[in-house]
Amino acid sequence: MTMQTEPFIMNIGPQHPSTHGVFRIRVALDGEVITDADMIMGYLHRSMEKLAEERTYTQNIPFTDRIDYLAAMSNNLAYVMAVEKLASVEVPERGQYLRVIMAEFQRIASHAMAVGTFVNDCGAWQTPLMYMFKERERILDLFEMTCGARLTCNYVRIGGVSYDIPDEFLPKAWELVREMPGILDEYEGLLVENEILLARSKGIGVLTAQEAINFSCTGPMLRGSGVAWDLRKADPYAVYDRMQFEIPVGRNGDCYDRFRVRLEEMRQSGRILKQCLEQLPGGQATNPVPLALRPPVGEAYAAVEGPRGELGFYIVSDGGPAPYRFHVRAPSLINLTALPKMTIGSTVADAVVILGSVDIVVGEVDR
């Protein structure tokens, strides 16, 4: 006996509470089980890579804020590092430390958002998200007092950072860093052993290490699948080579492991921040560079370990004031390509959880 029915096609998105923006998955269903998943992107395409070819190197920094609006600092850093590589600009030590401090704070903020929305996608009614927002809010306050913006910071500059930190920054940062382990213990106490969360995320959306590598996944997606890979260790940039920290790695490759890896990374970021704040040297934070920077003809690729994975910028210079080619290796987009692999065969409810565990930012997927 065979069932002769046409598949039930359902659109998850583009307007849907769980797609984290305007992203659409067209799924074919058999009952609740997904038999086919088709990702449709581009609803948020803003043509940033092309627009960047018309603007000077400094003018492009705000674009990078808006690529991944939850991790503006990391994006700034990656882009600026690419330009610095291209133009061979040196950054003073204090600038390097400030960059790392901001990037790690940004990682905590971004992971807090990721974990919160992930648990939301599992069906919790906003409560974990609100808890996560509590600390994210304090981090955004730190950003605000440093550069005036909370979300789209536009802080890192070619040759350093836009402003040195204000006087009230360090006490607040120290307070937060000291409280961080306790806060994380609270989060873990709330979430890690929650029976329903375990039921919803353990064994769901399994991606083996081989598959994760084949899909070029990076970040918590890759680490959740048992691959200890972190650019901060593999190819240390800024001052990460002076930091003591560890790479949290999951062994099962399911949604739960990705969620746990994120929680653990927040802890490690706290460690890094502590070391950075201890070692923070004095002196100049920025080497001034001309606003209309004209790097020599050539190309450069620089990548950082962003909250979502390897965030790389590839820039080609023709010697003019604007990049000839500006390309972003967006971890959200590349991690997302593993989505059909993970969702086919699971249910609709699982698909939402899996999407939540990938932690996409649609601004970065579509650019």
Binding site: M1, T2, M3, Q4, T5
Partner: protein, 104 residues
């Protein structure tokens, strides 16, 4: 005016007739099943009306019978609808007139 047993029996007869018509005339299998349910309901009404109005050693017996009818109706509904779904799966149709072969 009082309502007697005749009133209930006539309502029941009308309902039974409607149910019979549905069973005999409807093309859709599930539609026909609705007729069966109506007929069973009509029979129940008769039993309960008798239990209420007629002389008997154990007047509740009519209601006991209705309980059995309801129970059997539940089983019948589950089974018949299962049949309808099974037929639909093999034939992609639940039109009663399409089901004219004994074997396929």
């Amino acid at each position: 005016m009082t309502i007697g047993i005749e009133h209930y029996l006539i309502v029941s007869a009308v309902l039974f007739a409607i149910g019979l018509f549905i069973v005999l005339a409807k093309r859709n299998l599930i539609g026909a099943l609705m007729g069966v349910e109506l007929m069973l309901n009509a029979v129940n009404l008769t039993f309960i009306a008798f239990a209420r109005f007629t002389e008997s050693a154990q007047p509740i017996a009519g209601q006991v019978f209705a309980v059995f009818v309801i129970t059997v109706a539940a089983g019948e509904a589950a089974l018949a609808l299962g049949l309808a779904v099974a037929v639909y799966r093999t034939r992609a149709s639940i039109d009663a007139e399409d089901m004219s072969t004994l074997k396929w």
